[in-house]
Symmetry: C2
Subunit: 346 residues, 2 copies
C-alpha cells in the first residue's frame, strides 16, 4: 500500500532563533512495505521527542555536526530524524514484526523508513505510558541519571544547582539529586515553573531567573555556603555565576547550553582563577556515553516512578503540523518538562 507521508522539514538552514517560516510541511509518497531484499522497517510514528539539540543540526555549520553520528547536519528539504515511539507497519528485518511497538530514531513525519544500523528497539512499556520512554525512561532520563551520578559523582549532603530545572532533563536531575540526599535549588523562567519545582518535585528551593538582575548575587543568596555541583543546561552568564559561587572541588556537568544555541555570540566565560584555585571541573557529556549504566538507570527510575518518589513531567502537543511551534517554543521556555508531539493513535 502506498500512502502520502506528511513530514516536517526545514526550508533553509536555521542560524539564530528558529521561526515558523524556517519550517514546512511536505508530502511524499511512501510504500508501506519494506523494499525487497532490504532490512528496512516501516514504522507508523506515534510520538516524537522535541529536543533543543536539533537546532545545532539545523545550522549552516556547527562544530557539533562533526562530533557524533546523531548530531550530523540536517539538509533543508530532507526528512528530519528524531527519537520517538512508533508501531511497525512492515518489516524486512527479522528482529521486528508487524504491530511491534518500537522506540528509537524515527522521524518528524507520519511514517518512517528505518534503515539497518539505525537505533531501533522493541518497546516494552513496563506498565508506563509510551511517552515515558522518550522522557523519564528515555534519553532525557539517561542524561540526568548519567550526568548526575557518573559526571558529578555526588556525595550526600552536597549542594546542587540545576538550571532550566523544569526542562526535560533538569527536572529529573533535581529529583535524582533530592532522592540521593543532596540539597537542591533549581532555576526556571516562570512563577508556574518555580512552583512546580518546589511543590510537586521536592526541590528545596527554586527561583525565577528572569526576576534576578544579578545572577551571581542571586546564587549567593540561595547558596550562602556555596555550590558543590552545578548541572548546566543553559551555559553563558548562568554558568559564570555558578562558577563564581562554587566551592572547592566543585563540578559543573554541562548537559547543554540552550541559551547559546540560538545566539552564536553568547558564550560562557567562567573565571579561570576560580577554576584553578577552587579546582573546579567543567565537563561536557552526552547521554549516549552512559549506555553502560542503562540497565541500572531503568531499574532505579522505574522503581522510583512506581513508588511515587519520582514524577514524570510531560508536555504533549498533538498533531504533526505542530512540531515547528513545539520546537520553537523550547527556546522561548514554553515547555514544562519533556516536550513531545503526538503524531497518531495506535
Amino acid at each position: 500500500m502506498e500512502v502520502s507521508n506528511r513530514y516536517i522539514t526545514i526550508k533553509t538552514h536555521v542560524d539564530g532563533a528558529p521561526k515558523e517560516s524556517h519550517f514546512e510541511l511536505k508530502t511524499a509518497a511512501l510504500l508501506l512495505s519494506a523494499e525487497s531484499g532490504s532490512n528496512d522497517v516501516i514504522v507508523k510514528n506515534l510520538y516524537v521527542s522535541i529536543d533543543p539539540y536539533q537546532i545545532n543540526r539545523m545550522k549552516s555549520q556547527s562544530s557539533s555536526q562533526k562530533a557524533i553520528s546523531f548530531s550530523v547536519g540536517i539538509t533543508p528539504g530532507e526528512i528530519i530524524d528524531a527519537y520517538g515511539v512508533g508501531k511497525v507497519v512492515a518489516s524486512g528485518n527479522p528482529r521486528f514484526e508487524k504491530d511491534d511497538l518500537v522506540v528509537g530514531v524515527i522521524t518528524w513525519g507520519e511514517y518512517s523508513v528505518v534503515k539497518e544500523g539505525t537505533i531501533l528497539n522493541k518497546l516494552d512499556p513496563m506498565g508506563f505510558p509510551q511517552t515515558y520512554h522518550l522522557g523519564v525512561l528515555g534519553f532525557s532520563g539517561l542524561s540526568a541519571y548519567g550526568g548526575f551520578f557518573e559526571v558529578c559523582k555526588p556525595k550526600k549532603g552536597e549542594k546542587v544547582f540545576v538550571s532550566a530545572a523544569s526542562g526535560s532533563v533538569g527536572n529529573l536531575d533535581g529529583q535524582y539529586a533530592k532522592l540521593f540526599g543532596c540539597y537542591v535549588v533549581g532555576c526556571a523562567g516562570s512563577k508556574q515553573k518555580v512552583e512546580l519545582l518546589k511543590e510537586k518535585l521536592g526541590f528545596d528551593d527554586a527561583f525565577n531567573y528572569k526576576e534576578e538582575t544579578d545572577l551571581k548575587s542571586a546564587l549567593k543568596r540561595y547558596f550562602p555556603n556555596g555550590i558543590d555541583i552545578y548541572f548546566d543546561n543553559v551555559g553563558a552568564e548562568m554558568q559564570e555565576a555558578a562558577v563564581a559561587n562554587m566551592n572547592a572541588f566543585g563540578r559543573v556537568a554541562v548537559c547543554g547550553v540552550i541559551s547559546e544555541y540560538t545566539d552564536a555570540g553568547k558564550r560562557a566565560a567562567p573565571e579561570m582563577l576560580d577554576v584553578v584555585y577552587k579546582r573546579i571541573t567543567i565537563r561536557g557529556f552526552l547521554a549516549a556515553d552512559f549506555m553502560n549504566v542503562f540497565a541500572d538507570f531503568i531499574s532505579t527510575t522505574s522503581d522510583h516512578l512506581r513508588t511515587g518518589n519520582m514524577q514524570a513531567v510531560e508536555d504533549i502537543t498533538p498533531g504533526l503540523e505542530n512540531i515547528p511551534s513545539a520546537f520553537i517554543g523550547l527556546f522561548r521556555g514554553d515547555n514544562i518538562g519533556k516536550k513531545i508531539v503526538k503524531i497518531a493513535d495506535e
Copy 2:
C-alpha cells in the same frame, strides 16, 4: 644578634601589570634567635622562587585569595612569603638545628622567621643543586607531574599541547609527556624559547605564538588530527583555540592562566558546544593537591634527571633587590624555565 633585615614588599595593591613602582625594599631589625618559648625557626634565605600566582595575592581583591591558605592576600608594607631554600640560623623548634638546610615557605627577604604550622622541611639535596628543589624537584615539578598524570590521565600516543611551554611548569609537563610516549607541541613567545623546546627538551614541535595571527588555525596546523590533552598555563584565547581543536574526550588541565592575571577583562570563553559534543573536561588544579604522589614524583623525576632524560631549565638572578624585576619579567615572558632569585651564599 640583631641584624638589619632587608626585604621586598608592595607599596600598594597591584591590579593590572606589576611595575617597579609597586615595590619597595624595606629594612627592619630582626633578632637572629628564636623568641623564648616559641617554636620559631630563624632562616637565612638562600634562594627564593619567583612565581606568577603571587600577583593574585597582590590584588586589592581576587576570589583566589579566599581559596586556600597559601593564596591569601598580601598587605602592602608587610613581608611577602614565598617558597625557597635557606639555612637555619637559630631554632626554637626541636625538628631543626642551626645550619640545617631547609626548603619551605620563607620570604622575599634576607632572613625569615618561620612560625609553627608553616611548611618547612629539612632539605636533602640528593646530589642535585639546591635550586632544583624549588623547580624541577619542587612545586613546579609537582604541578607538572600531578597535572599531567593525575589530571590528564594520558594514554601513550596521545597528542599533547602545552602553552607557556618554556616556563617553569610547562617545560616539565612537555618533558613528562614526551617520556611517557605522547606527541608534544609547545608554544612560547620567542625564537630562542622555541629552539630550546625543540632542540634541548625533545618536544616534537613548537611555535612562537606571537607570530600567529589566528591561534585556532595555528593549532589546526600543528595538530591536523586534533589535540587530546591541553596543559593550560595561559588561559584566554589560547584555551579557546585549544578547545576548538580538541578531540572527543579531550582534557584541559588548567594549571594557571597567566595572560588573565594582569588583565581583569581577559577571559577564556571556550565554545561550550565543543565541550558538550566532544565531552571535553576542563579542570583546574593546584600542586598542593598532589602530595599523595609526592614520593613517586621525586623518585621518577630524580631518576630521569640522573639518566639525563630530563633537563632542569633554570633562570637565576642574583640579588634580593632584583626580586621586583624578576617578578615583573614573568608577565613579560622574560624568564626561560624556573625563575629564581639567589639571595645569599650559604
